[in-house]
């Protein structure tokens, strides 16, 4: 049951985006996030939306997968939009009055506020789609490899980049094992009469203890076994280690970087020269 769970959201495909270097994809996601936070109005979002559409097309990911990544957010999106229209007034230049849409009792809705609430919702949608594109097109192992390589320059300040990457790889390897273990413990405790499904919060919290304590003890045992196996094989850290997968930047990464730079420049320039809210 739980052992069959897909690790992360990775969707294997043979595409331009899948073949890009994971390091570049991580940096591009950060640049993309910076870009969408620099977009100050709805028009300035056009380059970001175009960038996401282009990346989604080039990643050959099924559209339903991308839409599915928005599904858990639907309530948050609706709820924050409704709340935002009551609290936001729009970024108006000094001296300019907002355009009232509804003015009743303590409710003051303005056209600028509604546009700004729309902007925040759109920003969240674009942010989720951009992040999902990274996780859907890059395997977790490739992501940790990319993170390790990005952290490598920090070794100068004695940052343990190799250890961190090794721990992330071990953690990824352990996730299915621990999920299976948790499932087994849950079934065993249910057979003994434990009830994880009903009762108030205190009862449910209490019910989690027979799950968590054996899980921790078992996790410690596994960590001990792994440490012993690593020491028996003379593990001594990152010094002089070679890699199975060597990451290499190609022309695809250059195109990706150019597109991201254009997108950020577009967002900034449009925000600077076009004012709609």
């Amino acid at each position: 049951m739980l052992a069959d769970i897909t690790l992360g959201q990775f969707y294997p495909a043979d595409s331009f985006v899948h073949k890009m270097d994971p390091r570049v994809k991580i940096v591009l996601l950060i640049v993309f996030i910076v870009g969408i936070f620099l977009a100050k109005n709805l028009i300035a979002f056009i380059p970001a939306v175009l960038f996401v559409i282009l990346a989604a097309r080039m990643s050959r990911l099924p559209v339903r997968l991308l839409i599915r990544s928005l599904k858990p957010l639907r309530f948050i999106l609706i709820f924050t939009f409704i709340l935002n229209i009551f609290f936001l007034q729009g970024n108006l230049p000094e001296g300019q009055e907002p355009t009232p849409v509804l003015d009743w009792w303590i409710i003051h809705l303005t056209a600028e506020g509604i546009l700004q609430a729309l902007l925040y919702s759109l920003r969240l949608i674009v942010l989720v789609l951009g992040s999902s594109l990274l996780t859907l097109s890059t395997s977790p192992i490739a992501l940790t490899d990319g993170l390790e390589m990005l952290m490598t320059p920090l070794k100068v300040i004695r940052f343990p980049a190799h250890e961190i990457a090794m721990m992330m790889s071990i953690a990824l390897r352990f996730i299915p094992t621990l999920l299976e273990e948790a499932d087994k413990i849950m079934k065993a405790q249910t057979a003994r009469g434990a009830d994880f499904e009903s009762g108030n919060i205190l009862k449910r919290a209490k019910a989690m203890i027979p799950l968590l304590v054996p899980l921790f003890v078992s996790a410690f045992r596994r960590a001990g076994d792994l440490a012993m196996a690593m020491e028996a094989r003379c593990y001594h850290g990152g010094e002089g280690r070679t890699r199975l997968r060597v990451l290499k930047c190609t022309w695809r990464d250059l195109w990706g970087a150019a597109a991201a730079v254009l997108m950020v420049a577009g967002c900034v320039l449009i925000s600077e020269f076009v004012h709609i809210i």
Partner: protein
């Protein structure tokens, strides 16, 4: 009799324990308790336990990077907020555990997880304010569930660590 608890943990062993904690933190976002229309996730419990059991710098990796990995796989839009908030939370809990009232471990750990809970609530509130819009919206929709989650996580972690003597169990690892 020599006290094994006072012995420095060997490097590889701490690394493996941290990695396992990282995995537990990453998957803990899949377990939740429904409270009204909100859900309390168990991530706080695991982050606090890791911070109470591991040395501060390793706790940062277990809490910060573990939660980051979890978000990267299941909820990527908040992954950077999570990375910063959880790292600071784990660091503060770890440092307070290392530096405060050595003679009163329960009081020390309670203060440490309480400080961690405050950091978690503040960190996510600021993160959500930036991501979702106004302060008022964040206050209404996120702060209360986060406070409940933080208090719940701190209390359950404290109980598990002290009632079930997890520290001693961890020290008994074979190496």
């Amino acid at each position: 009799m020599s006290d094994r608890r006072n012995m420095p943990l060997p490097h590889v062993r701490v690394m493996c324990v941290t990695a396992v904690f990282m995995a537990l933190t990453a998957i803990s976002g899949m377990w939740s308790l429904p409270v009204g229309i909100a859900h309390i996730y168990l991530t706080d419990v695991i982050v606090c336990i890791a911070a109470l059991l591991l040395p501060p710098s390793w706790a940062c990796a277990a809490g910060g990077l573990g939660a980051f990995l979890g978000d990267l796989m299941f909820y990527p839009q908040a992954m950077f907020v999570t990375l910063i908030t959880r790292t600071v939370q784990s660091l503060v809990i770890g440092l307070m555990k290392k530096g405060l009232f050595r003679k009163h471990p329960l009081l020390r750990d309670a203060l440490a997880v309480a400080a961690g809970a405050v950091i978690m609530v503040c960190g996510y509130t600021v993160g959500h304010m930036v991501m979702y819009g106004s302060f008022e919206t964040t206050l209404i929709s996120y702060v209360l569930p986060q406070v409940i989650q933080a208090v719940f996580g701190a209390a359950v972690a404290l109980m598990i660590v002290h009632v079930f003597h997890l520290e001693k169990r961890m020290q008994k690892l074979p190496v």
